[in-house]
């Protein structure tokens, strides 16, 4: 199970960008904070922290409007789907 798939699909809906690109964005944001890990290896709190920091910064760097709000929305989505980190 690749957690990047479900979160990338959701980021794609939020930003109106291609899902493939958004999945890559999440992967890069994870690498910024945890260079030796993949998104699937992160714990819930680590992933939440990535969305609140490096993903937000990367979204701001490419001038995505409302980066702060998008970051909060993807965190809310993670909170709702947190069980996937254990069950998948």
């Amino acid at each position: 199970m690749n957690i990047t798939n479900i979160l990338g699909e959701y980021l794609s809906k939020l930003t109106d960008r291609k899902p493939m690109v958004c999945k890559g964005m999440i992967r890069l944001a994870v690498l910024d904070k945890h260079p030796a890990k993949t998104p699937d290896q992160l714990r819930y709190n680590e992933l939440k922290d990535v969305f609140d920091t490096t993903l937000k910064t990367r979204l701001e760097n490419v001038s995505i409007p409302d980066a702060e709000q998008i970051s909060q929305e993807i965190i809310s989505y993670l909170v709702k789907n947190q069980s996937l980190l254990t069950m998948a």
Partner: protein, 243 residues
């Protein structure tokens, strides 16, 4: 109850196998809630061991501890940073657990009530512990599955695991609901026989859900193609695509 001792030993072996398998997964992933689940399965095996040896007092005490561990697992897996009924259910479990132990002492010592009344009360309290855990487990799995059930991003075998959790949660609720109808030690009635069948279903469901053998994973995933192609893109391509 003792006629079913061999069946309890088989149940116990399945709990240990599931616990050992999950321990291996935890060593790879280091996800702490998996360790809670490992403890849950081993405590459950210990509970069955007390049942095999006919020590009902230790069975009760261990059942309470196991249910508390089960509630912690659900809370840590489904309800971090969310409104959770954990404290309420924990309090209820501890109160009902204490009442189960008190009623067992009354049953054992034949004080206050006659033995059959005390045994019935004991079984109601123990049954309620199972119902509380089963209902919360069912609600947690069903509400999570509802969020992504139509999403192609989640592999079918993962959805299958949630469905198996729902299935064994219903079995646990049934077990708890039937417990008040079980007879005093040494006799067998319809409720005990149904409980044995439901227990087989529950343990099969739990084992399949958490071990998820390859053949079952393949079966759930038949005809599914993973949409993940992000690894093909370079950082420049990704950043350009986001602009």
């Amino acid at each position: 109850m003792y006629q079913a001792v061999y069946l309890f030993v088989i149940f116990l072996v399945f709990r240990v196998i599931t616990g050992v398998f999950l321990f291996g997964t935890w060593r790879q992933t280091k996800k702490n809630n998996l360790l809670i689940l490992v403890i849950f399965f081993f405590m459950n095996a210990l509970t069955l061991l007390f049942l095999v040896f006919g020590n009902l007092m230790l069975y009760d005490a261990n059942t309470i501890i196991t249910m508390v561990i089960g509630l912690i697992f659900i809370d840590r897996t489904f309800y971090q940073d969310r409104k959770s009924p954990f404290k309420l259910l924990l309090t209820l479990t501890l109160v009902l657990g204490a009442l189960a132990i008190i009623s067992f002492i009354i049953f054992d010592q034949s004080i206050i009530f006659d033995q059959s009344t005390a045994f019935l009360l004991h079984n109601i309290f123990v049954g309620a512990l199972f119902v509380i855990f089963g209902v919360w487990s069912l609600i947690a799995a069903a509400s999570s599955l509802k969020v992504f059930s139509s999403s192609d991003a989640v592999e079918p075998w993962v959805k299958g695991r949630y469905r198996l959790v729902k299935f064994y949660s219903i079995s646990i609720i049934l077990l708890g609901s039937l417990t008040p109808f079980t007879p005093v030690e040494g006799t067998v009635n319809w409720a005990l026989l149904v409980i044995l069948v439901v227990n087989i279903l529950r343990i099969t469901g739990e084992t399949l859900a958490w071990i998820m053998p390859k053949f079952l994973k393949k079966y759930f995933n038949r005809g599914y193609t993973s949409p993940d192609t992000s690894l093909q893109l370079s950082e420049e391509e990704i950043m350009e695509g986001m602009r």
